[in-house]
């Protein structure tokens, strides 16, 4: 799985999230921040991570999620790290 494929999957997830800033979503990139750029509350990040588990058919480690920051690249890193550990 490539970083571009993961980003595409994250965009698909975000398209179903009511609170996301749709204009910001159109220009999302790895440096985008879920909170400051996409307008999401910090509590929504866990829901996005849970959806990413389903979307990529993975099981994230709680400790990895604890350490996660709010940039899109951090979630891409988490997905790829978990894929490589599987």
């Amino acid at each position: 799985m490539t970083r571009e494929e993961v980003l595409k999957g994250i965009v698909e997830i975000l398209e179903s999230v009511r609170m996301v800033d749709k204009e910001a979503l159109a220009t999302i990139n790895e440096d985008s921040d879920f909170i400051t750029d996409l307008g999401l509350p910090s509590t929504e990040l866990i829901n996005i991570i849970a959806k990413a588990e389903d979307r990529f058919d993975l099981e994230f480690d709680d400790d990895d999620v604890d350490d996660l920051d709010s940039k899109v690249s951090d979630t891409i890193d988490l997905v790829l790290k978990t894929v490589n550990q599987a």
Binding site: P41, S42, T43, I46, N47, I49, A50, F60, D62, V65, D66, D67
Partner: protein
């Protein structure tokens, strides 16, 4: 008593929560079921209404429900991580993060007995979401006996006695265990 009650029911809130006495809004745990929710009780004290024209603050109603939820969060995380509450306290703080909608219906004063019922709607990655209702109990109602016989079906059907008057509801309350390191509280 439900089968999971012994995880928390009968324990003192000071064993579960880290709040100092003046900030603690749980007297007892009455009922708990990990897949459903938690029921706590708190009797409004003199210190809670002092300097607030003898009325229990709305924010403290929210806090009472929040502490019920955080208690459930603590027990679930202990189960999941296989650690004791004391071990967890050295790693995490259970932090109230948000609520979507609050509705208040009445006020409470010193001596009122308040029951918080928290319905857990999700628990993922150490983050809990729950819907809570706070009730005032009619004087002399034996709530302890009532919840000894409370079933999961009662809980799911939101069955409460007529002796309970709704005081407030809080939708989508969110709390999460956050590592002390992340909170920059590692030395506390």
């Amino acid at each position: 008593m439900s089968r999971a009650d012994n995880l928390i029911v009968g324990k003192g809130p000071e064993e579960v929560l880290i709040y100092g006495k003046p900030m603690l809004f749980v007297d007892e745990y009455l009922w708990f079921e990990p897949a459903c929710g938690i029921v706590t009780v708190y009797q409004v004290k003199e210190k809670d209404v002092k300097d607030h024209f003898n009325i229990f603050r709305g924010v403290d109603m929210l806090e009472a429900c929040g502490q019920a939820g955080i208690s459930a969060c603590t027990v679930l995380e202990c189960q999941k991580a296989g650690k004791s509450r004391d071990e967890l306290k050295k790693i995490f703080r259970f932090v109230f993060l948000g609520v979507d909608r609050s509705r208040f219906f009445d006020y409470a004063k010193e001596g009122d007995v308040l029951i918080a019922i928290g319905n857990i709607t999700s628990y993922r990655f150490r983050q809990m979401t729950l819907d809570s209702t706070l009730y005032k109990v009619a004087p002399n109602f034996d709530y302890q006996n009532y919840f000894q016989n409370y079933s999961i079906a009662d809980f799911n059907d939101k069955v409460v006695p007529t002796a309970f008057t709704p005081m407030a509801t809080f939708e989508n309350m969110v709390g999460r265990a956050i590592k002390l390191q992340k909170l920059k509280m590692i030395d506390t």
